[in-house]
């Protein structure tokens, strides 16, 4: 079974002594490999929490997650770190780049923790990823000197440099203008359609969501509707 499969996922947070927020409750989800899915919904509906659970950042209170048929929700410690490294590329709204280091070092970062990639490959892989995203001439610069669109492309390069098959993007276009929004969306679509990657995007932008294979609508921690836009 190819793709991401989740069943009965729940997560609640204790916000004070006697109040609990059910961020996600009982979500069933299936995203096929090579598919691009958008998760939309009002603020606070649990989109980020769901994405973080799929990406092994937040541990679900209950439920199970399978990636390509392998059970991953119980992974802990070093195993989950290795798994994240090999399988997931994360793209964040605030880019999550290290400002003090060059674009090159930022893109290279995941490879430092990948035992299968020798350091001789670093240069080639960074260059390839950067070229495919049109930032090959910016490798020596610091991310803080780049425009928002360029920065997000650096972050996407980092998310694919180890050959991660799954990209998890939490509002990747949230800090960008209209032109860069559609450009980043083009890149993500291309990674899915021509790169064979599975992409999950959390977004508020319905016009971007409309370009995806599927739109998953959330409300109050539950999936309200799960529709395929174009079939």
């Amino acid at each position: 079974m190819d793709g991401i499969f989740a069943k009965g996922l729940s997560k609640s947070y204790r916000t004070s002594k006697d109040s609990v927020v059910n961020a996600v409750c009982g979500v069933d989800l299936e995203i096929r490999g090579g598919e691009i899915a958008a998760i939309v919904g009002p603020s606070g509906s649990g989109k980020s929490t769901l994405l973080n659970m799929l990406g092994l950042i937040v541990r679900p209170d209950s439920g199970e997650i399978l990636l390509n048929g392998e059970r991953i929700d119980g992974m802990r410690g070093g195993k989950s770190c290795r798994f994240r490294n090999a399988n997931f590329g994360y793209v964040m709204q605030d880019f999550a780049l290290i400002d003090g280091e060059s674009v090159y070092s930022n893109i290279r970062l995941p490879m430092l923790y990948n035992k299968k990639i020798g350091f001789r490959e670093y240069r080639r892989r960074v260059r390839e990823a950067a070229e495919s995203l049109g930032i090959a001439d910016k490798l020596r610069r610091k991310p803080s000197r780049l425009s928002g669109g360029e920065r997000q492309r650096v972050a996407i390069a980092r998310a694919i440099v180890c050959g991660q098959p799954v990209i998890l993007a939490d509002e990747p276009t949230g800090s960008l203008d209209a032109e860069n929004r559609s450009r980043v969306m083009d890149i993500l679509l291309d990674l899915c359609k021509n790169g064979g990657r599975t992409v999950v995007i959390v977004t508020h932008d319905l016009s971007l969501a409309a370009r995806c294979d599927r739109i998953i609508r959330m409300r109050d921690g539950r999936i309200e509707a799960d529709e395929a836009e174009k079939t």
Partner: protein
């Protein structure tokens, strides 16, 4: 390798703070070993024991130096104000001879210091003070010389005092202190000093003819003497030396002793200061680590294992204190003093002198290093737990 590179990079970006911190922390850390010495239970126990001993003995302090009328209770001046007894014709010398004899009631101690380092070199306990000293001195000998465990000379050897070669017979445990309520060096640590115990005035005069009066002048006490005897001695001292002399009982002294209060207040002050400074150190390390929080998260997100992140925090935290700790050790391993020689023509020659390593000092420095390392470890463990908790909540705050 990548760990080292990352940590070095962290330092590079923290350089200015690191330098400022190192300078401040060096001075703070250098006070730590001394404080641990002062706080050691051994020296406090001895202080307490001697104090108890003083309380039990019916002791009067004959204060000839550093007399502060303001701090002396009304009663204490009774002996001074008491009308002089009819002149018996006994000279001060005769009184001292009798007082410092085996059956006598007088005692004293004195400290001779090294001119360069200022540390106690010889400590003399005379007369009744021999029994108050924290060492069992055989009854039958006129004088008894002991080396402290940290001294250059040791038991079985000899020491030359004013041309006379005297055998060293005993040993005194490290961490021994003198306690004297009016002595400004109360509870001074005497590691490395040579102890000389003398029971009678004749031996004192024979061996230390050169400076025997200082023994009498500085820290004179009387044990079990009545008011008349004290009044006679006080009158004789006043008559023959012109010195105004005051007498205080132990109870009065232990009650009001300003020196003792000063010692405790000082200890308390030092303790709270070091506590505050250690807390400031911990806070600064924690601040420095938190500064890299986002970066640690990014590394962790893309696969850096937890222990790797922890090692990066710990190396950073320990390295942060490296310069300060090193300067603390430098001070112990290469203690440097200056000797100034003044010539008649007004020129001054300054000479650098190197002291010796004291094992106790090194031990205390090691303890201080341990305390600092433990504090850093504690901060790092705390910060790491905090980091993991935050990360697993989707990188959102507590």
């Amino acid at each position: 390798m990548k760990l080292i590179r990352q940590v070095l990079n962290d330092f590079r970006r923290e350089l200015v703070w690191l330098i400022v911190y190192s300078v401040l922390a060096s001075t703070v850390f250098c006070t730590l070993p001394g404080l641990f010495g002062a706080l050691s239970s051994e020296s406090r126990r001895q202080l307490y024991e001697i104090e108890e001993e003083l309380r039990r003995s019916d002791l009067s302090m004959i204060v000839t130096k550093g007399l502060r009328i303001g701090s002396v209770p009304e009663d204490a001046r009774v002996a001074f104000d008491a009308p002089p007894r009819p002149y018996t014709g006994r000279t001060l010398r005769a009184m001292l001879e009798e007082g410092f004899s085996r059956e006598g009631k007088l005692g004293s101690f004195a400290v001779e210091r090294d001119a360069d380092t200022g540390r106690a070199k010889y400590v003399f306990f005379v007369g009744k003070y021999v029994d108050l000293a924290p060492v069992a001195v055989p009854e039958d000998c006129d004088y008894y010389i002991c080396a402290s465990e940290g001294a250059a000379e040791s038991a079985g050897g000899t020491v030359t005092v004013f041309g006379e070669e005297l055998p060293i017979t005993g040993a005194v445990p490290e961490g021994t202190a003198i306690y004297h309520p009016v002595h400004p060096y109360a509870a001074e640590n005497l590691d490395g000093a040579l102890y000389v115990f003398i029971r009678d005035y004749e031996s004192l005069r024979r061996i230390f003819w050169y400076s025997h009066t200082t023994f009498i002048n500085e820290n004179l006490i009387a044990v079990g003497a009545d008011r008349e005897e004290l009044a006679e001695l006080v009158s004789a001292m006043h008559r023959e030396t012109g010195q105004y002399v005051c007498v205080q009982t132990t109870e009065e002294l232990l009650g009001v002793s300003t020196e003792r209060m000063k010692t405790y207040a000082e200890l308390l002050f030092k303790l709270s200061a070091v506590f505050a400074l250690l807390a400031a150190m911990a806070l600064n390390i924690s601040r420095a680590i938190r500064r890299w929080g986002t970066e640690y998260s990014i590394h962790h997100l893309f696969g850096a294992p937890g222990p790797f992140i922890f090692a990066r925090m710990l190396l950073f935290g320990l390295g942060y204190n490296l310069i300060a700790v090193e300067s603390m050790w430098y001070r112990v391993l290469f203690p440097v003093g200056w000797t100034f020689t003044y010539f008649a023509d007004g020129t001054v020659a300054a000479e650098k002198t190197r002291g010796a390593v004291s094992a106790a000092e090194a031990g205390r420095t090691a303890v201080s290093t341990g305390v600092i390392a433990a504090a850093v470890l504690a901060v790092c463990v705390y910060e790491f737990i905090r980091f993991k908790a935050k990360f697993s909540k989707g990188m959102r705050g507590e």
